[in-house]
Subunit: 222 residues, 2 copies
């Protein structure tokens, strides 16, 4: 990277960080817990969200922001669950940025308890851009392989939670859950780990209970 | 994106394209077919390459360049097959660039017939950077879902070949091969499609035969 490129990138990241801090503070003051979901394409972010929103909806008001390069497909899947969802299509950009979230916020019901933001499917770039979230979840699906944390470290070092997805496929794969956990925890010992399946529902309730608890401590401090 | 950012990006892409064109011409003149493999993390690029190199090695001289954010793991897997491999670790960057390949080329045996380049696992950014390849392969693994081509279109519109991987998992997944093919071909009708499994070996021989044929026509024109 040339010096000029580096300066432009640093400007961009600095501005993004400031906007993100403002969003985080504004949402926190309202008792809204913002959750940023990151993963490779097809690791199961939308499927996990479908399971979360259908179980969390009777307990709390929710909204979802979906990020994708193209198509409204993911927002439509969430709306089909009766939860308001906005689709951001980046038109090529490989990650969401805080300003995209900031633009949408005036449209979001201010009385929600949870705002879920599904990032563009990419295990690299989204890790560098805070969106104003209180919690960052990185998903790793079992078919991707248990060697991924150290190959894509930033997604794991910057996250609060590791959600192993597609646990229902474990019988057909060489994926070693303990190895993947161990590798992720070596990078980031404060990661909270959940093993889940959107097909069988495994691990979804514990994850929801934990999110509710986290939201409780947020509201308590507001 | 601001105007300044856009100018820096255009400079970068323009310079990359020129370096890539030089690499392509130099390799082509020597009868070396260069193949760039792109996909999401964990879609099976290295596993596909393992199957290709063990079967192609008795027929032709090969070399492999592996791209990753961190770790030498993939190059080690290829070397274990008795094929020379170089690892480029980008240290954070989300794609390979032509200049990285250019720096390595003096070390590569000039009498090889095939140079395989495995890009960083990312279905977005690598699509914008030519590396001097003659053929670009995009891999889509069955667990990622059949809806991915239109959500990540550039990887599919800029590729010559679509390799559907992990076909052995089809009995356990809702993946519709015809739907995925159809969606990819709508984006790019000239895509050649192979359905493969690195576990069962399905589709590997037809892919190798096709690569050998493509290399033959390259040598014929050199």
């Amino acid at each position: 990277m040339t010096k000029k490129e580096l300066i432009v990138l640093e400007d961009l990241l600095g501005t993004n960080k400031k906007i993100a801090a403002d969003i985080r503070a504004a949402l926190g003051a309202r008792g809204i817990l913002a959750v940023n979901l990151m993963s490779s394409p097809g690791a199961g972010k939308t499927s996990l969200l479908e399971r979360i929103v259908e179980r969390l909806k009777p307990r709390a008001r929710l909204a979802v922001i979906e990020g994708d390069i193209e198509t409204e497909r993911d927002a439509e899947r969430i709306r089909a669950k009766g939860v308001p969802a906005w689709q951001i299509t980046t038109g090529g950009a490989c990650h969401l940025e805080a300003k995209m979230i900031g633009k949408l916020l005036p449209a979001v019901d201010p009385d929600i308890a949870f705002l879920f933001i599904e990032n563009v499917g990419n295990l690299v770039c989204p890790a560098s851009y805070e969106l104003g979230e209180h919690l960052r979840l990185v998903l790793l699906s079992t078919p991707e392989g248990d060697d991924k944390p150290k190959k894509y470290p930033k997604a794991f070092t910057t996250s609060d939670v590791l959600v192993l997805t597609k646990a229902d496929l474990l019988p057909y794969l060489p994926f070693d859950v303990e190895k993947a956990k161990h590798e992720a925890l070596e990078l980031n010992p404060r990661l909270k780990v959940f093993v889940t399946s959107a097909v069988t529902g495994e691990g979804i309730e514990p994850l929801i209970d934990w999110l509710v608890e986290r939201r409780g401590s947020l509201a308590g401090h507001a």
